[in-house]
Symmetry: C2
């Protein structure tokens, strides 16, 4: 970013270098649902001619293909909306362009940002899954095709692809960023996500997407207090993953962090079910148009999964689940004491071989439904040499403190 | 509805009778931003040919022009989006059609559902305002052009037009209905709204828009406990309005209701400011695309109002306002005791003459930000003979109890 700002290179040169990488790798990785080199170069040239720089200063970015763009189609990962061309930018894209971002292209999403996979492969091993639903956003950043990409998260759609692909993935506190122009999956749970290659890049881009001026990273006046949180799903993580996370806690303690253990209240185990009933009830209503008019073009994965749960879902169970979630959020706020961040795995293990839908083991619902900010750091390697993320979690609205802890931890663990 | 179901009339006949009323009155009232008689008749004929009835059984409905429709343009009340044609229906429209509703046309919205008025006039007195932002939805229902219409509410955009135009207006508990395909104004506050001519119609349509089966109205096993809530804005209501509401409380007591008074905690007075900072911060980010690319086509009303407050709005104040709101919502839940509903005015007084933006005295933010369900009942007449609504309010998620109390009160007050 500073190189463009300082006049040592141009946006066009950066975009051309991204496009070279895309040309070399995209036939294998398939991270993009739309990319037109001539259009990207023209946008970069327009930026280089223009006077306004902004905090992004000409950096190219990608956007998940459920995010509207006035100059590129937005197809939601479904043949139903093939060729769909919005007439305006989603808020997050308009804010990115306003800040000097240059849209390189649209990144592959799974079908309706749900479980049915798109064509994207894991850039570290093409036989493996990139995870989803922000598959293309994570793979494109991991493969150096673009330095930053916007994703979204309703369950684990940013954190898990970040873990599988070995990039930094951030899911913000629920409700801080505007989602207008972003396909809703489940409005009570949806947030944007950011995929990038460093914590400072994520921190800068968060402010861009909030539409507020850049600010320096928060600095810690002492090493952080990090609490290892195994949670009730601990035995669903692979043994190697559990060992990696426990070992990381020891290394952070040796580096000066205060390390404790954090036990969730027993009834928080009910939150994964609450997530299921909220997300499926909402999803099935959001997509009434497609269900009524295009049922045959919806995948079996989706019809037999979230739509099966949602179409005849009980309204009473939906409201009870929302009330439980709200009650747990309020209670969770009071449990932190002086803990700065929780540490837990960002995925059950390494990227799976072949059909990645298998990897849909329910793990992230707990954190997503609590509306807390989450970040995945690419600091582990599994038995096959594939990346695994360490996840840090902070209290709602403590996103800046989360970045400070994450940057500290990243430096100690790399 | 039962007449179509029973075969005593057809959807086409009902639509033709609506269209006759539109033909007679629309040149004066200007409630519709899009209506094509041939298209509406074709839709009715298709319905009459079709086998599926659904709980709406062929009833025509209108939709505010910030709600996407695959077969009609959706222009958000701004020249910027003139001719904008969505490729799919918003969730609420798809659910209405699935339930057997026939879309008659699109109802006028104010610019971006904010304060700058559209062309609609009050059907009871063409020199007066219909209020906004769901101006056309309320006027069309009030003028018997359509029995039911969908609006939205971010501040008072359903309740106030209902009061000014003399129809039943309902703002549901925040978060229960899906808003996908509805223009976002302020995502933390936006809900759908329903404009109709009776409480049972509203109750039925609520279930349609929730995508759940119809259910009978809740019945009260005793007259309701209704609490008069003057709130900290009591002296901003016109004296006549205050007298009408206090008199209504006496009449309900004589009819058997238990009537008490309800005093809000003093710090709830800060919620109107919290609403201002939340809505303006969010609004200014949602519309970044328009601000950056179409500034000259935005009204002075909006540029000097919500955008002025929002564009450089403080993020810290935004978050503090959200935290205050969340804290007050939780606290409010605990204050109800055995009160079933609160009673308060639905507008400061009668519809204003001329430019209705004047009527934008901040009154409703308190209830809207508390996320509670509200209903306006057309039971009063002001000094000029214009309608004024009585507003009933219930606890979050007690929408069905709200309808039961509203129906009981409506019968006693008419």
């Amino acid at each position: 970013m500073s190189a463009i700002e300082g006049g040592r290179t141009t946006c066009e040169a950066v975009v051309r270098s991204c496009l070279e990488r895309v040309a070399a790798r995209e036939p294998d990785v398939r991270a993009w649902s739309y990319i037109d080199p001539a259009q990207a170069i023209a946008a970069a040239q327009a930026f280089d001619r223009g006077g306004k720089r902004g905090p992004l200063g000409g950096v190219p970015f990608g956007a998940k293909d459920i995010i509207d763009t006035f100059d590129m189609p937005t197809e939601w990962g479904t043949p139903i909306h093939k060729g769909r061309q919005p007439e305006r930018d989603a808020a997050c894209v308009a804010l990115s362009r306003k800040a000097g971002g240059v849209l390189l292209g649209k990144c592959v999403t799974t079908e309706f940002a749900n479980l049915h996979p798109g064509p994207t492969r894991n850039p570290h091993d093409l036989d493996r899954s990139p995870a989803g639903s922000s598959s293309g956003s994570a793979a494109a950043v991991a493969d150096f095709m673009v330095p930053i990409a916007i994703g979204t998260q309703t369950t684990g759609s940013t954190i898990r692809p970040a873990s599988f692909c070995g990039v930094v993935g951030y899911r913000p506190t629920y409700g801080e960023h505007r989602l207008h122009g972003v396909m809703e999956a489940s409005g009570s749970l949806d947030t944007l996500g950011i995929l990038a290659r460093s914590v400072p890049d994520v921190a800068l881009y968060r402010n861009v997407l909030l539409g507020i001026p850049p600010e320096p990273m928060m600095t810690l006046d002492r090493p952080p207090h990090i609490a290892l949180c195994r949670s009730h799903i601990w035995d669903q993580f692979e043994p190697t993953t559990r060992t990696l996370v426990e070992d990381a806690a020891l290394r952070l303690a040796r580096a000066g962090a205060r390390i404790t253990e954090f036990e969730l209240p027993a009834d928080f185990a009910r939150l994964n079910d609450a997530h299921r009933w909220i997300s499926s009830f909402e999803f099935a209503r959001t997509f009434t148009f497609e269900i009524e008019n295009h049922w045959d073009e919806i995948s079996d994965t989706l019809r037999g999964g979230r739509l099966h749960d949602g179409i005849d879902g009980s309204f009473e169970r939906y409201i009870a689940s929302k009330e439980l979630a709200q009650e747990c959020r309020t209670r969770f706020d009071s449990l932190w004491g002086d803990v700065d961040a929780l540490l837990t795995p960002a995925a059950f293990g390494e990227a799976t071989v072949g059909d990645w839908a298998f990897a849909g083991v329910p793990l992230f619902q707990l954190w997503t439904i609590l509306h807390v900010p989450q970040i995945s750091l690419p600091v582990f390697k599994g038995p096959a040499g594939m990346p695994i993320g360490a996840m840090l979690i902070a209290k709602r609205h403590d996103d800046r403190k989360l970045f400070a802890c994450a940057q500290w931890a990243y430096q100690k663990l790399m």
